[in-house]
């Protein structure tokens, strides 16, 4: 029989815990380093092009600037050659002056085009990256929660920052890549024009260089891969220890951790040594090739000068160009690595962008408009994994203004019911309606307008109290916030904070107690003033003083609203209009407190055994009602 093992509880009562057993049903976004060095792939470039196309004009100008820049760059040795051959050797001073001034003019042109290409390409690159990042952000906002449940925040952050950063690196170095390629082509053309024979002999070196690179590439790739993996291991360890600092210090793990970190860093270091050895080995090779090319120019070119086939100036130009020729080859090798990394990152970015939303508004979806607040579940069946339903055949109806208490052991499916009401997920069978409108037929945004939600573990942003309380409620004034806090009973402690309502909360509101955070999240819901409220009552982790305030606040918050409450406190449960007892994904009992006590079911038994909370009792509950012992 399906007993609830802890891994099969996707409705763990906290947004910090992530059910982790069902990765197979979602695109796996965990780091897969093997992808890092994916082959250059045309589809990724097509996607880049899509993002770049709005900036066609800027790119056109930038390309022109790059061409102009390369032209100027290449013209300079040529001007020197002409200077030497036509003016200096002929003793023509006035021509020399003209040529020198031309050189200055070309330098000016070089300056302008260089500035233009840099600024324009950076601008396009930054805009493109901004667009991509914004799209990723948007995508994350829209994706069904089933996605974020299963994907570690760290992995998403790595995509938003690490991968977008890799793209940035590529886009910015793309100026240089284009420039380098143009320079290479330009030099080849110039050499061929200057002296065909000498050029052919000199360029014969190039294929050898490419051959060496082809052999080198796969070996170096593995080394770089290992380096990256070790680097991320170091990062993850750092993250863990910053987050768990209190435990580290309380348990004196510093020296132990120092050793572990030292070991990880040591491994990382040796992988960098290996990678840099492999990366650098190409350098002597390229240098030797350059030397060989220069030597060839000297011998063959010198011979041709002697036989009068070419001028000395031509040979000087050759020497200048050959030196330059190998520079782009060297930087292209560097850029190739950047390019590969960017393509791999591109894959991962687009992979994220391509995940189907899961939950989308229908094309003809309308805002739900004003509602009275009737919520009805009709024969709802649902599972995070459709094969394994968590909820089966759930039906109930909440009339406007009614409070429905959902009770049951951990893992019974209460949280899933509340998540479905807000359409965090779509049901597999049955339907959920608000005032008769199927929630799949109206816009998601409008559901948020009529339905508020208070989470068990209240999440506060590191903003001011004011901003947290009026979160997203358009037009809420400071007075609204203050009066809501007064109603809820949060005003007094807020005023005791350093800057009252303008106090900036620390990470996750850690400068407040859990009870205080709970009160602020109540106030937030009150300011939003929804017709329907979904509330996950905090478990017993609130001290009795605050708890009393919360009890009072809760009454005020629920007044006049339809409420679905995952209830843990008997007082809340007792005053509910209807109690729904959920176990193993099914409604086993429902009715008022008095009715249920009379039924002598699970509720009555729990009641009699004097539990102050329904939470965390799955094991005992099973024993109590004589169900087969679960694995707990």
């Amino acid at each position: 029989m399906a007993t609830t093992t802890p891994q099969a509880q996707p409705d763990q009562d906290s947004n910090r815990q992530r059910p982790a057993n069902s990765e197979e049903e979602h695109p796996n976004l965990h780091e897969s380093d093997e992808e890092m060095f994916a082959q250059l792939d045309s589809t990724v470039f097509k996607r880049f092009y899509y993002y770049a196309s709005p900036y066609k004009k800027a790119m056109l100008i930038a390309t022109l600037a790059v061409i102009g820049f390369t032209f100027a760059n290449l013209a300079i040795p040529l001007i020197v050659k002409i200077g030497i051959d036509s003016a200096i050797r002929e003793g023509n001073s006035s021509l020399l002056a003209i040529i020198a001034i031309t050189l200055i003019a070309v330098a000016g042109f070089y300056w302008i085009t260089n500035f233009l290409q840099n600024v324009l390409i950076t601008r396009v690159a930054l805009r493109v990256l901004y667009d991509i990042r914004a799209d990723m952000f948007l995508q994350l906002q829209r994706l069904a929660l089933s996605f974020s449940d299963k994907t570690p925040i760290g992995a998403l952050m790595a995509r938003m920052f690490g991968d977008v950063g890799a793209l940035q690196e590529m886009l910015e170095s793309s100026i240089e890549i284009v420039g380098d390629i143009l320079t290479l082509l330009g030099i080849i053309v110039i050499l061929l024009v200057l002296d065909f024979q000498l050029a052919i002999v000199t360029l014969a070196i190039v294929p050898a260089l490419f051959l060496i690179r082809i052999i080198w590439q796969p070996i170096a790739r593995r080394a770089f891969l290992r380096m990256r993996r070790n680097s991320s291991i170091v990062g993850v360890y750092l993250d863990q220890n910053v987050s768990g600092i209190r435990v580290v210090q309380a348990l004196n793990r510093q020296s132990e951790n120092h050793g572990i970190m030292g070991g990880k860093i040591h491994t990382f270091f040796w992988s960098t040594v290996r990678a840099s050895r492999l990366g650098g080995i190409l350098m002597p090779t390229v240098e030797l090739m350059t030397g060989a090319a220069l030597a060839l120019v000297l011998i063959v070119g010198g011979g041709r000068v002697l036989s009068g086939a070419i001028e000395v100036g031509t040979m000087v130009a050759f020497l200048l160009y050959v030196q330059r020729f190998f520079e782009p080859i060297r930087t292209l090798t560097m850029h190739y690595a950047v390019l590969q990394r960017a393509v791999a990152s591109g894959h991962r970015i687009f992979e994220l962008l391509d995940i189907p939303l899961g939950i989308e508004d229908k094309p003809d979806a309308q805002p739900i408009g004003e509602v009275a607040g009737t919520v009805e579940f009709k024969n709802v069946t649902f599972g995070y994994d459709p094969e394994r339903p968590i909820l089966r055949n759930i039906s109930f109806k909440a009339e406007p203004g009614q409070t429905i208490a959902l009770v049951g052991p951990t893992g019974s499916g209460k949280t899933s019911i509340t998540a479905l009401a807000h359409r965090f997920y779509d049901v597999q069978e049955g339907s959920i309606t608000i005032d008769g409108h199927d929630i799949r037929d109206v816009t998601q945004e409008s559901i948020g307008g009529v339905m508020g939600m208070v989470l068990q573990e209240p999440f506060l942003f590191s903003k001011t109290v004011l901003e947290n309380v009026r979160y997203n409620t358009v037009g809420a004034t400071r007075e609204d916030v203050v009066s809501a806090c007064k109603v809820i009973g949060a005003h007094d402690f807020v005023m005791q904070l350093e800057n009252g309502y303008d106090t900036t909360l620390e990470q996750r509101g850690s400068n407040l107690s859990i009870g205080q955070r709970q009160l602020l999240s109540f106030a937030r819901a009150l300011v939003a003033d929804p017709k329907i409220l979904v509330l996950d009552e905090a478990t017993a982790n609130i001290d009795s003083y605050t708890e009393r305030i919360i009890q009072v606040a809760l009454k005020k918050l629920l007044a006049g609203r339809t409420a679905l409450v995952i209830a843990h406190r008997l007082s809340t449960i007792r005053t509910a209009d209807k109690i729904i007892v959920v176990k193993d994904g099914e409604i086993i009992e429902s009715g008022t407190h008095t009715e249920l006590i009379g039924q002598d079911g699970l509720y009555a038994q729990l009641w009699q055994t004097n539990y102050t909370s329904f939470d965390d009792i799955s094991g005992n509950a099973d024993k109590l009602i004589g169900a087969p012992a679960s694995s707990t």
Binding site: Q7, I84, G91, S93, A100, I104, Y110, W111, F115, V119, L126, R133, A134, F137, Q141, S148, I153, G154, M157, M160, L238, N241, V242, R246, V247, A250, R253, H258, G259, G262, F269, V273, S276, G280, M283, P284, E287, L288, G291, L294, L306, Q323, H422, M453, F459, Y471, N472, E506, S513, R524, V534, T539, N541, Y545, L570, R574, N610, Y611, D616, I617
Partner: protein, 634 residues
């Protein structure tokens, strides 16, 4: 072998930093604390100080550093030999050719010899260049890894008040991208600066040996380059600092958005969040554009100045050739030198960028490293010897900032005298918890264990003596077993199981398919709040500390399990001193003395019955909690 040496060196340095930071003067500590806050919002150490400190870090590897500099210099000189050889070759060949007295084969032999020399020098340059690059990169890795470990160690010892205040995202972005910025500087700034300067100076010398006037003219751009790049560095540094801060904000925004995604959804706040994201993301774009513009302007003008040098050499040098003061070969050599100087000019721009980034990134790292440890061993600190385990608070007052958190607290906890503490939130319960393991020092009064003031004992020994279980415990990625024996890695499986049994979590763990090897964390199983608390209790029990502090450590555990944990603990902790902080009176009913805190003071104290008889706060609280119970009963 080398690693062991290195490791111990790191740790000794860490101790050094913390002990030098010790200052017994209270107001000094206070001022430091305030200044830390001020600095974290402003900027840390700046500019040249930062670069100097980074440079000093490389001195730890001075042979490595010197060797890479040596190879850099050799490479630079080698690079310059090539034009020299080419120039001489061309020149000699044409002198011979022009005087007509030599046969063609003689001249060709000469060219061939030169060609061979050029190849040899190129090969040599390639090898030394490789050595320089390899050494430079490994040096940069050593330095950055050293810094990484220092940073890691520092974060581990920094006080809780620091970690409360600084967002994890900020610390991570410093630990990852800023340290990388420093590394880039060591690799492409520090070592290359030698190469670049040697190249420029050597080129100057070579050129001057041909024609000093022309040499001066052709190097005329260097002072401008130095001035312009210095100015650019300053501009970029400020911009980089802003970029790094903005990126930190963006990271924080993103992280919070993802962590709070349910709130975002529940309030349909996607648009709001997008707007928030947009503001920061656009700011990053603008700042980066600023940097790009400054860079393009500075880089452009330097390149322009460099090309002017070409024109001048062509013009003036050409005139000199026409006047017969210079040969064509010599002029060729000049141009080859100039062609070689393209490299240092390009490098200088990269260096400016990496230097600017390093001075802001390094500033952000050193800012953290420089924060004095508020809690550090005094010079006379000795390991604490626990004989009985008597914890004594003697008229303790304490404040986090200006607001007093505790006033005049005195109590004594002994193995046979369990202390229970209750009170409203903000009444000072957690402050007491924080003072016992010396996470903070009291402002006045003293906390002592077996008569030794905690300030006179080493921090390590104090924390070893105390087993603390907190309300919202953090569990690490890793197996359940590793989590439970986190405080004592050598704990046997039996010890782990015994502890888990006491914490009433063994049955649950044993029921998991992989038992104690089940992975926890982002990629593992999620535990409920109560389960986390129970694992944390087991984790603390494994350390077998003589003093046990339970800070609301069973608040999410149901009452029945709580009772079982308590009775199991009672058996096991015979002879241990126990301090229980709880909001649930039933958890501390059996304490020998209960302190009721109100506003940082002890409002009432006594046994449960005595306190009830007083009819004060405690009684009120009892009624309140019993209220729930009575609802059940009626």
């Amino acid at each position: 072998m080398c690693l062991v040496g290195r490791g111990s060196k790191f740790s000794s340095e860490v101790n050094l930093t913390s002990s030098t930071a010790t200052n017994p003067n209270e107001s000094q500590t206070e001022r430091q604390r305030r200044s830390v806050r001020a600095r974290l919002t402003d900027s840390g150490p700046t500019g040249s100080t930062v670069l100097w400190r980074i440079t000093r870090l490389t001195f730890d590897y001075r042979w490595h550093f010197l060797l890479s500099i040596l190879f850099a210099a050799i490479t630079a000189v080698m690079s310059l030999f090539i034009p020299k050889l080419l120039g001489n070759g061309v020149d000699q060949a044409f002198t011979l050719f022009n005087d007509g007295a030599h046969t063609r084969s003689e001249i060709e032999t000469l060219l061939r010899t030169t060609a061979l020399l050029v190849m040899a020098v190129a090969a040599l340059r390639g090898t030394t260049g490789f050595a320089q690059m390899f050494l430079g990169e490994t040096l940069s890795q050593r330095v950055s890894n050293h810094l990484r470990l220092l940073y890691f160690d520092k974060l581990q010892v920094l006080s809780f008040s620091f970690h409360d205040r600084v967002h994890t995202g900020q610390l991570m972005s410093r630990g990852l991208s800023d340290i990388e910025g420093v590394r880039m500087f060591v690799q492409s700034g520090l070592v290359q600066v030698v190469r670049v300067s040697v190249m420029i100076i050597a080129a100057g010398v070579f050129m001057a040996s041909i024609d000093w006037q022309l040499a001066l003219l052709s190097l005329g751009f260097v002072p401008f380059m130095v001035y312009r790049s210095a100015r650019l560095r300053l501009q970029l540094r400020t911009t980089w600092r802003k970029i790094q801060d903005a990126l930190g904000d963006l990271t924080t925004t993103m992280q919070e958005n993802l962590a709070g995604i349910r709130v975002v959804r529940a309030f349909s706040a996607q648009k709001y969040e997008e707007a928030k994201f947009d503001v920061t993301a656009k700011e990053v774009v603008e700042l980066r554009m600023d940097a790009a513009r400054a860079y393009a302007r500075g880089g452009g003008s330097i390149s322009f100045a460099f090309l002017i040098a070409w024109a001048v050499v062509l013009w003036v040098g050409g005139e000199k050739v026409i006047d017969g003061q210079l040969t064509v070969g010599e002029l060729t050599e000049f141009f080859l030198y100039l062609a070689l100087l393209r490299f240092p000019v390009r490098m200088i721009l990269m260096m400016v960028n990496s230097t600017a980034r390093a001075s802001s990134a390094g500033g952000r790292i050193f800012e953290i490293l420089d924060i004095p440890s508020e809690i550090a061993d005094s010079a006379v600190a000795r390991p604490l010897k626990v004989s009985e385990g008597v914890v004594r608070f003697d008229d303790v007052s304490f404040s986090y900032g200006d607001a007093p958190a505790l006033q005049g607290i005195s109590f004594e906890a002994r193995p046979d005298h369990t202390i229970g503490i209750v009170g409203a939130p903000g009444s000072g319960k957690s402050s007491i918890t924080n003072l016992i393991p010396r996470f903070y020092d009291p402002t006045t009064g003293s906390v002592s264990i077996d008569g030794t003031d905690l300030k006179d004992a080493t921090v390590l020994s104090v924390r070893q003596a105390i087993g603390l279980v907190e309300q919202d415990p953090f569990l690490f990625d890793g197996s359940i077993r590793d989590n439970i024996r986190y405080g004592d890695v050598n704990a046997s499986d039996e010890t782990v199981i015994v502890a888990a049994k006491i914490a009433q979590i063994h049955d649950f763990i044993a029921g998991l398919p992989e038992g104690y090897d089940t992975e926890l964390g982002e990629r593992g199983v999620g535990l409920s709040g109560g389960q986390r608390q129970r694992v944390a209790i087991a984790r603390t029990l494994v350390t077998n500390s003589p003093i046990l502090v339970l800070d609301d450590s069973t608040s999410s555990v149901d009452a029945g399990t709580d009772a079982r944990i308590r009775s199991a603990l009672k058996k096991m902790t015979e002879g241990q001193t126990t301090i229980i902080i709880a909001h649930r009176i039933s958890s501390l009913l059996h304490a020998d003395e209960i302190l009721v805190l109100d506003n940082g003071r002890i409002a009432e104290r006594g046994t449960h019955d005595e306190l009830l008889a007083m009819g004060g706060h405690y009684n009120q609280l009892w009624e309140l909690q019993r209220g729930h119970g009575s609802e059940v009963l009626d």
